[in-house]
């Protein structure tokens, strides 16, 4: 199929047009990132006047200096790490044993438990009852509330359960002969054999936590607990209405645009660092088998 000698002239034109279109799509995907990076390194006056196109105008680190000197930036960055790693850890702690139990044929009422999990993918009570429930549980404005309240979702459990179900029972027989109990079978046989599925779930959880914004904004009132995304949203909302900020900047090197762009760059960098690991796993198509029962 990929034999080059068989290409006719029509095919060559087809291949070229195809390449050009893909290249255009790729560039337009990439461009907003380049634009934001260029704005973040530009002089405030140039950015505000709309002069930045692809490279920084009047290169300066003023916006970064301003962002990095803000204590709230650092505390929100720290909080994002707490939510990301704490949240992912708690998720695994609940999901792995749960998915394992749900995958066992001898579990009493297995169909019922599975349906109970899956039903939440089709029907959920919605924002308000969830919010009131969190408030009644006293989980507003706490690290623990934000972490536990979003620790589990049906999709991840079903994904892992399906993976466990596909592992042949012959793997666990040797362990059973040695008298291993369920905890040991899970820890010594199933978890090591499920690394790709677990990696997928870890990445799902981490990306969701890193980017999570809406519930953090709704549930957290204490500025000291907000994650980076909420901080960024607050900066965008406050600075864009703030006339004084604009005026006082006339002689300074940063502006509303360069400061928000600098925060965005700081927030994207960890995603870029992790991205190669993420990509390694989602290419394997594990995502796709997930929802089939």
């Amino acid at each position: 199929m990929k034999n080059m000698n068989l290409y006719s002239r029509g095919d060559k034109i087809f291949v070229w047009i195809n390449m050009v279109l893909i290249a255009l799509f790729t560039i337009s995907t990439l461009y907003p990132f380049i634009y934001i990076a260029a704005v973040s390194f530009s002089e405030g006056s140039a950015a505000t006047a709309g002069k930045v196109v692809i490279t920084p105008i009047g290169f300066t680190l003023a916006a970064y200096e301003r962002v990095l000197s803000e204590p709230l930036f650092w505390s929100s960055y720290k909080n994002t790490f707490i939510y990301t790693f704490g949240g992912t850890f708690i998720s695994l702690l609940i999901i792995i044993p749960g998915a394992y139990a749900l995958s066992r044929p001898q579990l009493y009422g297995r169909r019922f438990w599975n349906l109970m999990v899956a039903f939440t993918m089709w029907f959920n009570a919605g924002l308000i009852p969830f919010f009131l429930n969190m408030r009644d549980l006293g989980l507003m404005d706490s690290y623990f509330g934000l972490i536990i309240g979003f620790a589990v979702n049906a999709f991840n459990i079903i994904l892992l359960r399906n993976f466990f179900e596909a592992i042949p029972t012959s793997f666990e027989e040797a362990a059973r002969m040695d008298g291993a109990n369920e905890f040991q079978v899970l820890r010594k046989v199933y978890v090591p054999l499920s690394k790709p599925a677990l990696a997928t779930i870890v990445l799902f959880c981490m990306v969701a936590r890193w980017n999570g914004f809406f519930w953090a904004m709704v549930l957290l009132k204490d500025e000291g607990k907000i994650p980076l995304q909420v901080y960024l949203q607050q900066v965008i909302a406050e600075l864009s209405d703030d006339e004084e900020f604009g005026n006082s900047l006339l002689e300074s090197l940063y502006s509303f645009e360069t400061v928000t762009a600098a925060i965005m760059v700081c927030s994207i960098i960890p995603v870029l660092i992790f991205y190669p690991f993420i990509q390694k796993y989602f290419n394997k198509g594990i995502l796709l088998g997930g929802v089939k029962e």
Partner: protein, 305 residues
Amino acid sequence: MQTKIDQFIQHLRKEWQLYVLLAPTIIWFVVFLYKPMYGLQIAFKDYSIFRGVAGSPWVGFEHFHTLFGSDQFLRALRNTFMISALSLCFGFPIPIFLAIMFNEITNQVFKRTSQTIVYLPHFISTVIISGIVITAFSPSAGIVNSFLSWIGVDPIYFLIKPEWFRPIYIGSGIWQEAGFSSIVFLAAIAGVSPSLYESAVVDGASRWQMVWKITIPSILPTIIIMLIIRIGNLLEVGFELIILLYQPATFETADVINTFIYRQGLQGAQYDLAAAAGLFNAIVAFILVMTANTISRRFSRTSLW
């Protein structure tokens, strides 16, 4: 009866460990997802924080009457369907084209690089997407208006113009998700038997003909299933981005059911009314998803979950 209970106790004695493993999951679902379903009854009550969910008096369908008599809610309902339908029309075909085009690229380095780049926006947070949009479309500082003034068009304050909200919202959705959504179709193409292409080559078929006669018919079932899923999730508009981008000036075209619920309930503390809107939303969504699943089961003999 007695023997059944005995059997069950024996089973528990032997397999108690499984239930210990299962317990955290079940408790979590009960506390965080099923208990709110019980709380949904406030949609039929005059809810007050002090009386709580159970103690508030019933008011029947009063909140639903209010909702369906309110222009704001009807507007949100209309906008939800409009935004969803438009995203479907413009957003759905693009990943299919992308997958087919990626498949036709023979230069592996080029292919992998461009795939890496187009998948990336999927992993970027909504707040950053909104930040990019706000910066790029700003009236004085944004690149879009710089470009417009360069070609001699007066600057437009895009984010306060109702007619621009949907194009901007749907466009940023395509920018963020089109690449990542193409993975499903690429996987489907990877499953097409190579012998089909080989025999087509022997018959002297061009690449263009192979795309039309082999690739597209082969992935048609996947396309139809994905389309059914999308229609089933019609009410699921990404409202986070809307909250970040809309303003009172654009509510007319931007306000959807979930943003309406957010404003009435979480910002305005009208919990009962907002819960009623949420219940309506959830029931319609449930019916849509169930219908989609039934259709796809009939169509493909495999259920979606």
